[in-house]
Symmetry: C2
Subunit: 578 residues, 2 copies
């Protein structure tokens, strides 16, 4: 049986370390784990190295690999290990952190490393053409900025050349689609460090996408039995003490604002506000289920180093909902919320969707009655199975307050993104003591379910931008049609065509600058505008249009009425094609 | 010539003081000014009084009025005044605050008061049936909570009995329409003091109103050449220092949140964020005008005592826009923004709209070149005149940063509410140094105009709730049709009728509780639902509906298709009638 890819990666990191030892004598070694698409190793080098130095290291690695050295495991006492690594301060520190008893070492080609393993049997199991050193970066020893800064060498590493190549191609494509890059090129949004990092400013074109997305989102929610709330962005400390957030979530909350004598916090979550509305009236079993949605903008602390375009921000708009229902209703409600989520994701064009079910954590510390956990988990599982989703179970991976399903979608270049989450909350419902009066006159605790469908509008925009490379479906495109006159003489006619399109609700604009026609077509294509209409004497006289599609196709002499009807149909049906 | 009503009110306050002196010897007197609908007087009484004591005071006032005493003015030196008011500590304090020179006193019927006047000539000019003592309240001397609490007696007072009665009737009507009361009765919104006063929680029905209103607002803005932005709710102190808000507006801003090493403020205004977007690209004269709108939620400090339902809140959503344009464009832009505002207000059913133009403050302290002030003011005036609006000019009443127009609408019971404001801003544009490149290649400063159309969504909701008494036009009603079966046997048919209405986009619900039909009709009428459909055997067999309107009218035997078409037409046309 071939070694699994993680073992290959880990083994290759030892080979890297050996190569560095040989090329840079005196190097001190940190750690070298396998990571998602390869591995890294941290070194304290005798002199700085540059990306230009990587090919020589790669070459040395290939030499080691082709030598066919075996990976040999042996066990030594802590004391022996200390002697072996006497001139390796980082290894010594690691040794001190290990439990008493024997310590395992791996050796290949004379290079010995402290390591739990496992490793491949022979360096030849690492394909010399299936890895690539990627970059050099600084990394604090043990991630602690008070400890020495080491040099980290990253590498991609796969089981085969084909897999490496596919990965490199995906990365190249991802680079082109980077939401920060497209956001700028398509003038969709900006971030202004000087006014606060991690905060998104939606420009007119980004705003148009968001307005259309949110309109659809609201319509669908209403059509599917939800109501929409609007709640404040700030709440007094009483609210966050009652909810428990000041206990278990304070690290993600901003420091308070003082108003009169009270502390107010900007909200990191919408739930306590929805609960206040729930508690505003006496609720009967007849009123349930209640499905309350809100596009609620929340603010959470993230370390500035982790912020990343639209993908990781400090302020974001959750497309949130809370469902309150009776135990008798929970199964149907979960089926329904999952069905609705899948319907929404599929409308947006995600066809590969996987579910991840996280169940009750082991041990104490979780809240909620065991039979509620059981019923909730069962209802999640049944719903997934009913929808025929492929899923993984993360046993014990739920939050302390309830089990959950996360849905991850696969994007156009094969990456997985978590969007939807459906979570039970036994904590909030207890803390606020929410109740309904059942048919038997008794006060009972409803089930409470959190749900975010797209997750956050900002992050979803980022994912969708990278998924579509900015070529959104027609209904979400800021500009749907560019009308391009063949020459200045047809500027008025182009304006007229654009105005007629606008008149029927199509977002059209006439391109009337002094640039040449071909430059305008290139510009419109660059903006991913689905349809470019080239109009001149022939088109005007015939009442036709020459259509160029953003994917390069072309159709001449199409009756204008046909074109209008086709675009309106694409918009109305939220078609994914153009 | 009859005395003006303010003089009458002020004179009546002296008569009140005289009556109180007679009935409560030993009373110390504060001040007694005319106010909007009457007057008040502040007293330090020897013993507390109750509302029940007011009729006796009114009676004594009427006796004084009928005595026909004359109001006599005389002037005395400060020293003489001190002697005259030796046993009146509050009057002595007022005297100390006056400039040196002679001080005017007014005397009627032996009662002397320190007063600038003017007053009526004779108490008989106050109509004994045109005033009414209203209430007793506590009020700190000079509004300072560290000074003594005085007793304030409020009165309504008009020039005629008819005006007083009309005012009392309006107040009675206003009481019924009070947004706090209707908000509760119609389950539209709530405020939760314990989580923070002045913050609005929109319930499902209020949320539906808001979603429909905002959808229309966005559609109209797009159709009228605006683009829509979304910007963050918080910004670093750099932003507020640059904008100047930390200088001239800090009292209305909340204290900062600390994030990493920086202070962040929750936004009291959207403008600096829109400017950041403007500055994100180089702008050419070809790009202008830019009209950028946002439904931006802002937070401002208001003293808790001044908060009042939806009318005065701490968090509100401005329906904001900023217009950036060249000096050549400003006149057309102002005409357009005013036309658009009037179009929107009229769609909502406001037919009486008055304009208030505020011009450059006298003296120094205002920013912006004089010729810009002149051009801006002229463009505002021209636009008002073009629209044929009646208007008042408040000379020197503009803000330091530019002239403005406010639009006030008259509601159904005759009250005026300011909604729209259109303001030039010479300050922000200078402070952020915004520019465009003109046709001549020169960098120039664009004009910047702020505009809020409805003002704030929260306050507008309050005004509209009181204007319509909750009977919104059909398109804004949370529930448009209630289907009421004549008996339990027709529950399924009622459900079917409601489902058919929902199918064509009408918000319908079947009322299926155990209550009797008439109770359901009363309930639906109380909820101001425009149409109630009573359905039984006859209606089912004939395919008709019996319609009861919320205003009490009734039509039987209407073909169901006719009813559907009629309601859809009312919704589509945003009709004000039902």
């Amino acid at each position: 049986m071939a070694a699994n890819v993680e073992t290959i990666r880990h083994s290759a990191s030892h080979v890297l370390a050996e190569a560095v030892q040989k090329l840079y004598p005196g190097t001190k070694f940190g750690i070298g784990p396998a990571i998602e698409d390869g591995f890294y190793y941290d070194f304290q080098l005798p002199a700085p190295i540059q990306p230009e130095d990587l090919p020589a290291i790669e070459k040395e690695m290939r030499r080691i690999i082709s030598s066919g050295a075996e990976f040999l495991r042996r066990e030594v006492s802590k004391d022996e290990a200390r002697k072996l690594f006497a001139d390796q301060p980082f290894k010594l520190e690691l040794i001190e952190g290990l439990e008493e008893g024997s310590i395992s070492l791996y050796e290949q080609d004379g290079f010995v490393d402290l390591c739990r393993g496992p490793h491949v049997a022979n360096t030849r199991e690492i394909r010399p053409d299936s890895f690539k050193l990627r970059s050099v970066a600084g990394a604090y020893w043990r991630g602690d900025e008070k400890r020495p800064m080491l040099t980290r060498i990253y590498a991609y590493c796969f089981a085969s050349k084909a897999e490496l190549e596919a990965h490199l191609k995906m990365l190249e494509e991802a680079e082109k689609r980077d939401n920060r890059r497209l956001g700028k090129e398509l003038d969709l949004f900006s971030i202004h460090e000087e006014a606060g990092p991690g905060l998104i400013y939606w420009h007119p074109k980004g705003g148009r996408f968001r307005v259309e997305l949110e309109k659809w989102w609201r319509d669908e929610h209403y059509a599917n039995g939800y109501e929409i709330l609007f709640t404040p962005h700030i709440g007094k400390s009483w609210l966050w003490e009652t909810s428990g957030h000041l206990g278990f979530y304070k690290g993600n909350m901003y420091s308070p604002m003082k108003i009169d004598e009270d502390d107010y916090y900007i909200k990191p979550m919408n739930c306590p506000f929805h609960i206040m509305v729930y508690k505003n009236s006496t609720r009967s079993y007849r009123d349930l289920p209640l499905r309350w949605a809100e596009l609620g903008t929340v603010y959470r602390y993230e370390r500035s180093g982790t912020l990343h375009g639209l993908m990781r921000v400090r302020g974001f708009t959750q497309d949130d909902a809370h469902i309150f229902c009776t135990p008798e209703q929970i199964e149907d409600e979960i089926v329904e919320v999952l069905r609705f989520s899948l319907h929404m994701l599929k409308t947006l064009g995600f066809s590969v969707i996987n579910a991840y079910l996280a169940t009750k954590p082991k041990g104490d510390g979780s809240v909620g009655a065991p039979e509620r956990w059981a019923q909730a988990t069962e209802s999640l599982k049944k719903a997934i199975e009913k929808e025929g989703l492929s899923y993984e179970i993360d046993e014990g991976g739920g939050a302390f307050y309830g089990p959950k399903i996360d849905l991850k979608v696969k994007d156009a270049i094969g990456r997985e993104w978590q969007l939807t989450t459906i979570q039970f909350d036994f904590n909030m419902s207890e803390r606020f003591q929410i109740e309904y009066i059942d048919a038997d006159g008794q006060r009972k605790r409803p089930y409470m379910v959190h749900r975010a469908l797209l997750g956050s509008i900002e992050r979803f925009f980022g994912v969708y931008l990278e998924h579509t490379a900015g070529a959104f479906p027609v209904w979400l495109m800021p500009d749907q049609v560019a009308v391009i006159p063949v020459g200045a003489d047809f500027a008025d006619y182009a304006k007229q065509v654009a105005a007629e399109l606008k008149g029927v609700g199509i977002r059209a604009m006439a391109m009337l600058s002094d640039e040449r026609m071909n430059a305008k077509i290139r510009d419109a294509q660059g903006q991913k505008i689905p349809y470019m209409l080239v109009v001149g004497a022939k088109e005007r006289d015939e009442g036709t249009v020459s259509v160029r599609y953003r994917d390069g196709k072309q159709e001449n002499g199409m009756p204008f009425a046909t074109f209008k009807a086709r675009v309106l149909e694409k918009i109305a049906s939220r078609a994914l094609d153009i």
